[in-house]
Amino acid sequence: MRGPRILVFSTINISDPGIDLAGASHMEYPASVEVIPLPCSSGIRPSWIIHALKRGFDGVFIAADGGDCAYHPDCTTLTGKVVERAQEMMREEGIDPGRLKMAAICSVCAEAFVSHMKKFSRYLEKAGGRE
C-alpha cells in the first residue's frame, strides 16, 4: 500500500455519491484511501475508529452528511459528538487525535473530498506511520 492508510466512513446517500463523483471525474487521490459507506455519519461508533487505528490505519476520515443530512437536522452536532468521544478515547490510548478528521462532503463535493484526502495524507506522512 502506498502512502498513509486512510479509512473513510462515508454516507450512502450524501458523501458516497460525492466520492463516486471524484472517481467519475477522474480526479486522482491516493489509493491508500478506502471507504466504508454507512447510512449516516451520526451512526459511527467511536470504537470502530479506535479499532481501525489499532489494526493499521494511519488515519480515519469521516465524510459527514453535514447540513444535507436527510435523517437528522442536527447531524453535524451528533457526528461532532462521535468525533469528540473518539478523540477522547484516542488520547487515552496515546494516539494523536489529529489522526481523526471530519468534514462535510456533499454529493457534489468531489474536489473537496480529493483535497481533504491529499491534505490528510500529507499530515499523516509528517506524523509518521503507526507501529
Partner: protein, 573 residues
C-alpha cells in the same frame, strides 16, 4: 465464519480492467476462507452474466454473493434482484464499488489500484459472510392523499392526484384558499390574473367528487407510516377530523420577507415592499404615493443572499430566485402606467435567467437605470423631509458613491418559508438551515423527503416562480401516485435493534431519535428501550448514543463493520 460466498469481479468492458489487474484480484480472493467462487466477467450487469451468477448460486449453494463493479447507485438493485431470482435473500448480496472508488480514481498506478480492489473485495466478503437474511416490510397503501396548502401548488396537485383516481383532502390554514398567487394581478408571462387562475382551479376542485377542501384548518397530529397515515386535523369550528391517507404532500408555500424596522428605511410611509407596491400599481394612476415627475428607487436582494440592511436584519443566505425577474417586470409595468416616473434599480447581480432576460432588456429600453451595489456594502436609505436619500456605491462606476433623492423606495423582498414549526413537529420533515423543507436529493429525488410517503412541492421547498412551483407540484403528484397506485410499499429493513440483556434504559437513544421510533418498555423486571421498526429510518444515531453498546443497526452491525475494518487492514475475511 461458516458460509459459502461467490465473488464476481467485473471488467466493466475495460473501465475497471484497464486500471486494475482483475485476474490478479480473482486469484487473491479465491484463496479466502468462505469463498467458493471467484470469477471475472466482462459486464456483470449483462443478461448473460446475471444468469451465470444465478446458476452459480444454485449450483454451488451459495449463501452470500459479492459483485465488485460500479457504484451501487447504478446496480445495487440489479444484483439484489439477481439474488432474489436465484432464491437467495437480496440482503445476502454485497455490492463493492471498484470503479468510481478504485479504477477511475487511481488510473496512474495499476499495482496500487489492484491492491486496493483486493482489500475492498476482502471487506465485501467479510460483510457477506456475516450478512443476514432481512425482509423488507410490506405495508398496504390507502388510495388517498392529504395535501397541505391550497395555493397554486396544492390546488394543482390535488387536481392531478384526483385525475389519477386518488381521493384528496386539502387542508388550508388561511380562511381563503389561493395562497400568494391569488394576490398577483399581472403575472409574467402573459399578464395572467392570479385570482382568475385560482378561481378556475377552485371551481374545478369543487366539481370533483373525490376532493375535499378544508379552509381555516390545521394538521395537529400524525400517526402511522407510509401507505397508512392517520392524520388529525382541527377544522374551522374547532372540532377535529381524522383522515386516513396513504401519503402526504406538503405545499405550504412562502411569504415575502418582512424587513426589520429601519432596514433600508422600512417603516417609513414611503418605503414599501415589492408585493405592496404591485398592489398599488394594480390600482393604476390613482395611486396617492406616486405621480409623474417622481423618482422611484428599487433596492434588490432585500432578505436574500445575506444582504443586511441593518444590524437587526435576518436575511436568508440563499438567492430568492424570483425577485430579479419580478422587479424588472414591475419596471416595465411602472413605465407603462407612469411614463413620467424616473426609476433607479440598485441590484447586486442581475439574475434574470431564461426568458426573463428579455424583460431586463425591455426595462432598460424603457429608461430604467440599473446600478450595481457590492454585496458587502448595501445601499443606505436616509429620510430627508418628504423624500428619501438613497446612497450607494456603484461598482459599474468603479465604486463611486451615488445619491438618489427618491419619492418612493421599493424593497425587492425575497421569499421566506411560512411559519411551519407545528407542521414540522407533526411530520418530522427535516428543514434546511434556510428554513425550507429538505428533499432527499436535490437532483435525484427532488420531491421526496426522508419521511417515506411525505412529499414536498412548491415554494415550501425553496424559492420558486409560479411556473416552477406547478412543475414541482405535478412531479410530487406523480411520485405520490406511483407510490399509492401499486397498492403496497416495501421498506428497507435497515432498522435498529436493542440487545435487552445489555440495555439498562437511560433514554440517551430516545433523545437522538427524531422520529419517535424508540420507546421505554418494561421487560423481564427492568426498563429497556424498544424500537418501532416501522418508524425507524435506519440513520443509526442511536448506535453510538448508547453507553452500553446495546444497539445495532441491521445490515451494519458492529460485528460486520469490525470484520470489514479487519479485512481492509489486511486480515482475512
Amino acid at each position: 465464519m461458516e458460509g459459502k460466498v461467490g465473488v464476481f469481479i467485473c471488467h466493466c468492458g475495460g473501465n475497471i480492467s484497464d486500471y486494475v489487474d482483475v485476474e490478479k484480484v480473482k486469484e487473491a480472493i479465491s484463496g479466502l476462507p468462505g469463498v467458493v467462487v471467484s470469477t471475472t466477467t466482462m459486464f456483470a450487469c449483462s443478461d448473460a452474466a446475471q444468469q451465470e451468477i444465478i446458476d452459480s448460486i444454485e449450483d454451488e449453494g451459495l449463501d452470500g454473493i459479492v459483485v465488485a463493479s460500479c457504484s451501487p447507485k447504478l446496480h445495487l438493485h440489479t444484483f439484489r434482484g439477481v439474488a432474489a431470482r436465484a432464491g437467495l435473500n437480496p440482503y445476502r448480496y454485497v455490492h463493492v464499488n471498484i470503479r468510481e472508488q478504485c479504477s477511475w480514481a487511481h488510473r496512474k498506478d495499476r499495482d496500487a489500484a489492484t491492491e486496493k480492489a483486493v482489500a475492498l473485495i476482502r471487506a465485501g466478503v467479510a460483510r457477506a459472510l456475516r450478512s443476514e437474511s432481512l425482509e423488507r416490510f410490506r405495508v398496504e397503501t390507502r388510495p388517498s392523499v392529504l395535501v397541505v396548502g391550497a395555493g397554486i401548488s396544492g390546488l394543482r396537485s390535488a387536481l392531478a392526484l384526483s385525475e389519477m383516481g386518488l381521493s384528496v383532502t386539502i387542508v388550508e390554514r388561511e380562511e381563503e384558499p389561493g395562497g400568494f398567487f391569488r394576490k398577483v394581478r399581472n403575472a409574467y408571462p402573459g399578464g395572467l390574473d392570479g385570482r382568475e387562475v385560482v378561481d378556475s382551479l377552485l371551481s374545478e376542485v369543487a366539481a370533483r367528487e373525490n376532493i375535499t377542501l378544508f379552509t381555516g384548518a390545521q394538521v395537529v397530529e400524525k400517526k402511522g407510516t407510509v401507505g397508512d397515515f392517520q392524520v388529525k386535523i382541527r377544522v374551522s369550528d374547532g372540532s377535529t377530523v381524522t383522515l386516513l391517507v396513504g401519503a402526504v404532500l406538503l405545499a405550504t408555500g412562502f411569504e415575502p420577507y418582512e424587513p426589520a424596522p429601519g432596514e433600508f428605511g422600512f417603516g417609513h410611509p414611503r418605503v414599501v415592499r415589492l408585493p405592496e407596491f404591485l398592489e398599488l400599481l394594480d390600482g393604476g394612476r390613482g395611486m396617492s404615493l406616486l405621480k409623474d415627475g417622481d423618482t422611484v428607487a428599487f433596492i434588490y436582494c432585500v432578505g436574500s443572499r445575506g444582504t443586511k440592511g441593518c444590524e437587526e436584519a435576518r436575511p436568508g443566505d440563499y438567492c430568492s430566485r424570483y425577485c430579479c425577474g419580478a422587479a424588472v417586470h414591475t419596471a416595465c409595468r411602472l413605465a407603462e402606467v407612469f411614463p413620467g416616473v424616473s426609476q433607479y434599480h440598485l441590484f447586486r447581480d442581475m439574475r434574470t435567467y431564461g426568458k426573463l432576460e428579455a424583460l431586463y432588456e425591455e426595462a432598460s429600453r424603457e429608461g430604467a437605470v440599473f446600478l450595481r451595489f457590492p454585496g458587502d456594502s448595501p445601499p443606505a436609505v436616509v429620510p430627508d423631509g418628504e423624500r428619501l436619500l438613497v446612497r450607494s456605491k456603484d461598482t459599474l462606476l468603479g465604486g463611486e458613491e451615488v445619491e438618489i433623492a427618491a419619492d418612493l423606495v421599493v424593497l425587492v423582498t425575497g421569499m421566506v418559508p411560512r411559519e411551519n414549526s407545528g407542521l414540522v413537529e407533526v411530520f418530522k420533515v427535516p428543514v434546511g438551515r434556510d428554513g425550507f423543507f429538505n428533499e432527499v436529493h436535490p437532483k435525484l429525488r427532488p420531491v421526496e423527503t426522508v419521511i417515506d410517503g411525505v412529499f414536498i412541492v412548491g415554494a415550501g421547498q425553496g424559492p420558486k416562480t409560479a411556473q416552477e412551483a406547478v412543475a414541482s407540484a405535478l412531479a410530487g403528484s406523480a411520485k405520490c401516485a406511483s407510490l399509492l397506485l401499486k397498492g403496497y410499499v416495501e421498506l428497507e429493513p435497515f432498522v435498529a435493534e436493542v440487545d435487552r440483556d445489555l440495555c439498562e434504559w437511560c433514554g440517551e437513544c430516545e433523545k437522538v431519535c427524531p422520529y419517535g421510533a424508540i420507546r421505554q418498555v418494561h421487560c423481564e423486571g427492568k426498563e429497556v428501550a424498544e424500537i418501532v421498526p416501522a418508524l425507524c429510518k435506519g440513520g443509526g444515531s442511536c448506535v453510538p448514543a448508547c453507553p452500553k453498546g446495546a444497539i445495532d443497526l441491521a445490515g451494519f452491525r458492529d460485528s460486520q463493520i469490525r470484520a470489514m475494518i479487519d479485512a481492509l487492514a489486511g486480515g482475512g475475511a
